[in-house]
C-alpha cells in the first residue's frame, strides 16, 4: 500500500515559486494499479518521483505499508521499489542478464540466486532465455521494455513505480505488452503506481485512476466512475466525448447478457419449442445442438405450420456469437458490423451462455451512471 498525505512540491523558478504538486492525498491499495493521469506538466511524474525520493517533497508524508518513507535511507528505499521509466534506461554496457541482476547484485544476492532469478524473470516476461547473453542494442524496442519490466521485478519488490512504461513502444506491441503485463499483475498482485498521459491506457491498466491538473489531484476513482461521473468539466473534457464508449471496455459481456434466454434442442419439434417459449414468455428461442452450441434462431412466426417439423429445419441463421469474457465494446462493434441488435453469447468452450442486446447494454451503462458519486479527490 502506498499512501500520500498532503504531499506538496514547490520549485523556485525565475518567474517565482511554482507549485508542481499541490497538497495531494491519495492511497494506492495493496495489490492494485493506480494510474496517475493528466496532461504534461500536471505533476504526475513529480508525484511519483517523490515516492522513491528522486524528488524530495517540500512538505507532506509518504507511507509505504504504513511506514514513513522518511525513516528509510533513500538508497535502501529505492532498492525496495521497482522502477520502470519510459526511456527504459537499460545499461548498454551490460548484457540483458547483468541488467536484470542490477538490484539483486546491489542487495548482495549470491551469483547462483541471481542467475536463477534472471531465468525465472525471462519466462515471466515471455522472453527467450537465450537473450540473456545479448546486449540491449541487439534487442527490439518491445523486448527492451520487457527487460526493463523484468529488471524492476528482479528483487520481487512489493511496490512498482512505472513512469509511462509503454509510451515508447509502437501501438501494436504496446497492446500486447499491456495485456501480458495485466496477466502478470493478476498473479503477482504488486502495488503499482503507474504514470500515463493516455486515457485509454489508464482505463485499461488502472484499478483506479487519479486525474491531475496543475499539480492538484482532481479526481481519484475507479475507471467506470471516472468515465460515468466526471467530477468537473475539465475531467469530462480530458476523458473525452466518447467516454461512454470507453466505459464499454470496462464491462464484460457476461455482465450485460441475459442468461435466461430460452433454448431449444435442434432435434426438438416446433410444437415443443412453442411450449418452451410460451413458458418463458419470449418471442425468440435459440436453437442449440447436442453440445449446447448455438446454431440457429426460432421466432414465434416460424412456429406456424407443421407442428412436427424439427427446430433444426425451421431455424433462421444466427448472428455471429460473442464470447462472454469479451468487453462490451467488442460486442457492440460486432453488432454494428453485422447490423443486428442482439447476439448470442457463448462461453470459452463455445457453449451457449445467454444473449446480449443493445437494450441490455444501455441498461448496464445507465445503471452505473445512477450510482451515487463517491468523494473522489480529497
Amino acid at each position: 500500500m502506498i499512501r500520500l498525505e498532503n504531499l506538496s512540491k514547490t520549485f523556485d523558478s525565475p518567474e517565482g515559486t511554482v507549485r508542481a504538486v499541490d497538497n495531494v492525498t491519495m492511497e494506492v491499495p495493496e495489490g492494485e494499479v493506480a494510474v496517475l493521469l493528466g496532461p504534461s506538466g500536471c505533476g504526475k511524474t513529480t508525484t511519483m518521483k517523490m515516492v522513491n525520493r528522486l524528488v524530495q517533497p517540500t512538505s507532506g508524508k509518504i507511507y509505504i505499508d504504513d511506514k514513513d518513507t522518511d525513516s528509510y535511507d533513500a538508497i535502501q528505499l529505492r532498492r525496495q521499489l521497482g522502477y520502470v521509466i519510459q526511456q527504459i534506461g537499460l545499461f548498454p554496457n551490460m548484457t540483458v542478464e547483468q541488467n536484470i541482476s542490477v538490484v539483486p547484485r546491489l542487495l548482495g544476492w549470491s551469483r547462483q540466486a541471481q542467475q536463477t532469478r534472471a531465468r525465472e524473470l525471462m519466462r515471466m516476461v515471455a522472453l527467450d532465455e537465450r537473450l540473456l547473453s545479448r546486449f540491449p542494442k541487439e534487442l527490439s524496442g518491445g523486448q527492451q521494455q520487457r527487460v526493463g519490466v523484468a529488471r524492476a521485478l528482479a528483487a520481487d519488490p512489493p511496490v512498482l513505480l512505472m513512469d509511462e512504461p509503454f509510451g515508447a513502444i509502437d501501438p501494436i506491441n504496446r497492446e500486447v505488452i499491456q495485456d501480458e503485463f495485466l496477466k502478470m499483475q493478476a498473479k503477482l498482485k504488486k502495488t503499482i503506481m503507474f504514470v500515463s498521459h493516455d486515457i485509454d491506457e489508464a482505463v485499461k491498466m488502472g484499478d483506479k485512476i487519479a486525474i491531475f491538473r496543475d499539480g492538484r489531484l482532481e479526481q481519484y476513482d475507479d475507471p467506470d466512475m471516472l468515465l460515468s461521473q466526471p467530477a468537473n468539466p475539465f475531467i469530462a473534457d480530458f476523458v473525452g466525448g466518447d467516454r461512454e464508449l470507453k466505459r464499454m471496455r470496462l464491462t464484460r459481456v457476461s455482465a450485460a447478457m441475459d442468461p435466461d434466454a430460452p433454448t431449444v434442442q435442434a432435434d426438438d419439434s416446433v410444437a415443443n419449442a412453442r411450449a418452451i417459449m410460451d413458458q418463458a414468455g419470449r418471442a425468440h428461442a435459440v436453437v442449440v445442438d447436442a453440445a449446447n452450441r448455438p446454431m440457429g434462431l426460432l421466432t414465434d412466426r416460424q412456429l406456424d405450420g407443421e407442428p412436427g417439423r424439427l427446430c433444426r429445419d425451421a431455424a433462421n441463421p444466427l448472428p455471429e456469437p460473442v464470447t462472454a469474457d469479451r468487453d462490451l465494446r467488442t460486442a457492440v462493434s460486432s453488432m454494428f458490423t453485422h447490423d443486428v441488435d442482439w447476439m448470442p453469447v457463448v462461453d470459452a468452450d463455445g457453449c451457449f451462455a445467454g444473449v446480449v442486446t443493445q437494450d441490455g447494454i444501455r441498461g448496464v451503462l445507465a445503471e452505473s451512471r445512477r450510482r451515487p458519486a463517491r468523494q473522489g479527490a480529497a
Binding site: 522513491n52 528522486l54 538508497i75 535502501q76 528505499l77 529505492r78 532498492r79 525496495q80 522502477y83 521509466i85 519510459q86 526511456q87 527504459i88 534506461g89 537499460l90 545499461f91 548498454p92 554496457n93 551490460m94 548484457t95 542490477v102 538490484v103 546491489l106 546486449f135 540491449p136 542494442k137 529488471r151 513505480l161
Partner: protein, 242 residues
C-alpha cells in the same frame, strides 16, 4: 570508421607504400646507411618509449580522474570554464610548451616529461569529461532510481559507457605524444629526436631517417595497440566497432 571499405583500402595503400619506400631505400643505399645507426636507434628508441610511457601514463593517471571530477554535480559551475582553458591550451604549439617548460624547470628529462605530460593531458581530460556528459540522462535516472550509490553509478554505468570516448582521447594523446617526443631533445630530454636533429644539422639524410622512421613506426604501432585495446577492452554493448 564510417566507411569500412575505405578504411581497409587506406590500410592496404599504406602497406604498399611502405613496401615501395623500402625498395627505394634499399636501391638507393639509404637502408644500409640507416641501419648503420642501429645501436643508436635501439638506445634512443628505448629512451623515447620511456618518455612516452612516463608522460603518457601520468597524463592518463591525472587526466581521467580530472575529467571525472569535472562532471560531478558540485563542479558543474566551473567545469565549462576549465574545459575552455583546456581547449585553449591545446592551441598552443608543442614547441612553445616545451620552451615554457624549460624556462621554468631548466633542461633535462624532467622538464621534457612535464611538457609532454601537460600536452597529453588535454585530450584525455576533454574526452573523459565529454564522454561522461554525453551519457543518456535516462540511464542515470534508472541507475539512481534502482538504488545505486554515486560511486556505483560511476563505476558500473558512467565509466563503462564513456569508455570508448575516453580511450579515443587517450589514443589521440599518446599518438601526439610519440610525435612530440623528438622535440624533447631540444631541451635535453633525449629520445630519437637526437638522431633527427643531428641528422638535419649535419645534412646527413641517413641519420635523420634513422630517427624519423622508427618514430613514425612507433606511432603507428602504439596507435594500433591502443586500437586493439579499445576493440577488445570496451564492452560489446557500447563498442561501435563490434
Amino acid at each position: 570508421m564510417a566507411i569500412p571499405g575505405l578504411d581497409r583500402a587506406l590500410r592496404a595503400g599504406t602497406i604498399v607504400g611502405l613496401l615501395a619506400a623500402g625498395v627505394v631505400a634499399e636501391r638507393s643505399g639509404l637502408l644500409p646507411e640507416i641501419l648503420s645507426h642501429w645501436g643508436d636507434i635501439l638506445y634512443l628508441g628505448r629512451e623515447h618509449i620511456y618518455l612516452v610511457l612516463i608522460s603518457g601514463g601520468l597524463a592518463i593517471g591525472v587526466g581521467v580522474p580530472l575529467g571525472v571530477v569535472l562532471t560531478r554535480r558540485r563542479m558543474r559551475n566551473v567545469a565549462e570554464s576549465v574545459i575552455q582553458v583546456v581547449n585553449l591550451g591545446q592551441t598552443i604549439p608543442t614547441l612553445a610548451v616545451l620552451a615554457l617548460s624549460m624556462s621554468v624547470l631548466g633542461i633535462g628529462t624532467v622538464p621534457a616529461i612535464f611538457a609532454l605530460w601537460l600536452y597529453s593531458l588535454l585530450p584525455i581530460v576533454r574526452n573523459t569529461y565529454q564522454g561522461i556528459l554525453s551519457i543518456d540522462p535516462a540511464m542515470l535516472e534508472a541507475a539512481q532510481g534502482m538504488g545505486m550509490q554515486p560511486r556505483q553509478m560511476l563505476w558500473q554505468v558512467e565509466l563503462p559507457n564513456a569508455l570508448y570516448v575516453i580511450i579515443a582521447g587517450i589514443r589521440t594523446a599518446i599518438v601526439i605524444n610519440v610525435g612530440t617526443v623528438p622535440l624533447a631533445f631540444l631541451i635535453g630530454g633525449g629520445g630519437l629526436g637526437q638522431l633527427i636533429f643531428t641528422g638535419i644539422s649535419l645534412y646527413n639524410t641517413g641519420m635523420m631517417l634513422a630517427g624519423a622512421v622508427p618514430t613514425a613506426l612507433l606511432a603507428v604501432v602504439i596507435d594500433f595497440l591502443l586500437g586493439m585495446g579499445a576493440y577488445w577492452g570496451v564492452p560489446r554493448g557500447v563498442n561501435p566497432l563490434r
